[in-house]
């Protein structure tokens, strides 16, 4: 059995789903950020695998940009957590339920 692109794609899918389940089940905002980063990394594996398969470099460049954007987003997310803690509130998604219906 040879190592094919599909192996990488499966692994990437598994990591993506694990990350997604983290987003769906955890309460801690920070953990949710981490899980989203994990999803992005999973997409990275897919991109790089396709890049390898098709012998084009665009996929790697794409992931580079995704990385940069994710870094910017994490800065914003952490700032939100800090702002919450300044108000004496926990970084808990379940507490954020005043806006509803």
């Amino acid at each position: 059995m040879d190592l094919t692109t599909n192996h990488f794609l499966f692994v990437s899918a598994a990591l993506f789903v694990i990350g997604m389940m983290g987003v769906l089940t955890r309460r801690n905002i920070l953990i949710i950020f981490m899980c989203v980063e994990m999803m992005v990394a999973a997409v990275g594996i897919t991109l790089v695998a396709f890049s390898h398969e098709t012998a084009t470099i665009n996929g790697q460049v794409f992931f580079l940009f995704a990385l940069a954007v994710a870094a910017a987003e994490s800065a914003v997310g952490l700032a939100i957590v800090v702002a919450l803690s300044r108000q004496g509130r926990a970084p808990d998604v379940e507490e954020m339920q005043t806006l509803k219906n």
Partner: protein, 236 residues
Amino acid sequence: MSWELVFFAVFSAAMLLCGLGVVAFENPVHSAVALVGSFINVAALFVMLGAEFLGVLQIIVYTGAVLVLVLFTIMLIDPTKLPEFYVGAPLQRFASVVVGAILLAEIGVAIITRTALEQIGPHTEAMVQQMGGNVQAIGQVMLSEYALAFEIASLVLTVGVVGAVVIGLPNRMVEPNTVTMSLGHTRGSSDMLAAGPKFESPMNIPAERYTAPVGERTVVMTKDPDAYTHPGETSK
């Protein structure tokens, strides 16, 4: 069974296990460390796929910068205020697992039935070697073909910084003698909630309003105690 496959199996198993750890660990610090482990293995997979530069970057950017930032933030938070482990409803957890499984199956179907495109691009391994390696190849493409996207990515980072400043810094705009004004943003709109706020405001200020001349920049306050979530700035 080639060595490649063995390495692949080891790296991906470690990666997935660490990923599960991120989701499963109760202590956020443990989760963060597990994420580091997961990302290192992701980087290894990148290297296996011939993307050395991205492998390095993954470690530097994520494990080096972002995760340290995350850890800092975790440390900042009062540990007594860390939230419970999982979301409350068991149904939610159950449904999440089901959704995840179905999604995995769907992706699997897509992977199996897809048509692979074999080596159609210009950046074959030989070509990349000729250019001087992966880093050179990415650099050339990124700064010529994708120059505009590169610039925009820098703008995204700028906005991220501005946003972090705006949201993270204390309220530098507010002069000490100012009265905060809120405009009756309702908490949700259900009829039950319209009667009053769901959770108590830190300072139990009754709904009241004052008017003051605008020129002196002391403004009005109104009926919504929701505005006073930040004690210390609301008193005159």
